[in-house]
Amino acid sequence: MAAGPPREAPVPGGEPASAASTQVTAAGAAAAPQGPCRAASGRSLTLSVRADPASVRAALVAATDCLARHGVGPEALGRVELALAEALNNIVEHALAGRPGAEIGLTLHCGLPVWLDCELRDDGCPMPGGLLPRGALPLPLPGAGALPEGGFGWFLIRTLAENLRYRREGQTNLLSFRIRLAPA
């Protein structure tokens, strides 16, 4: 199950390099990648995340640990973690619903200290209509008794992320976005 420590590869010319995959599962010893983390600028980190909530949690902890060790501050780290959590949860709950053994490929391309590009791929169901949800807040918020208990995920992603893109390639969903780490 464990593929050892994550290996990151340089990203020549801005093209994603193939990086070794680290399996992230809830129970696995590889839940948090061990060893040196080299998510320095121009490098990428790839994680393979099983499609269940506990594995998503482990992947978020692993990714943010790695970024923290490279000097990403708590404010930016919080935004990165929230955007990734919402994107991963959406895949688990919709595209890969009922397929907890399936995997999500998560790649972070680091343009430290300014930005972080995030890519997620899965082989689940396509987005309805081939489009990302609008994710609008129901404003004005209804009275307490009628408040929605869900549907905030895409609103948060759209608020936190730039360059949000989705496309379907064959049987694969590809979602990508950029999180700004430092003020423009």
């Binding site: 929230l82 949860n89 408040l147």
Partner: protein, 117 residues
């Protein structure tokens, strides 16, 4: 995840001992709040000063717990760490919940939240 209720004056304070309220615990969390509130009549204050991460599923659980308790037992929040405060602010839920500054210390005084990670 552990929720510790303590009655203080008119309010029941529920201290949440969990670092993350996310999709993997959201349903359990909502149920645990309902249990910890029990048959208390009056405000129920959740002390979230140990919680360093909240996602939209966790937010949904907070909203769900508030709806379960109903208008006679308003669910209020205290001790928001920066990541929790961000989710509430971005979704405008900071206008829905009564939010107390700082954690709720013994004796009822508000204190500064523990240093957030």
């Amino acid at each position: 995840m552990e929720l510790i209720p303590e009655d203080r004056g008119a309010a029941r304070i529920i201290t949440v001992r969990a670092a993350r309220i996310d999709a993997s615990v959201a349903i359990r969390f909502k149920d645990a709040v309902r249990q910890a509130a029990g048959d208390w009549q009056g405000p129920v204050v959740l002390d979230l000063s140990s919680v360093t991460f909240l996602d939209s599923s966790g937010l949904g659980a907070l909203v769900g717990a508030m709806k379960l308790l109903g208008p006679d037992r308003p669910l209020e929040l205290a001790g928001l760490t920066p990541n929790v405060e961000r989710v509430l602010r971005l979704t405008r839920m900071d206008t829905v919940f009564t939010i107390h500054q700082g954690a709720v210390a013994a004796g009822g005084a508000a204190v500064r939240p523990a240093d957030a990670i």
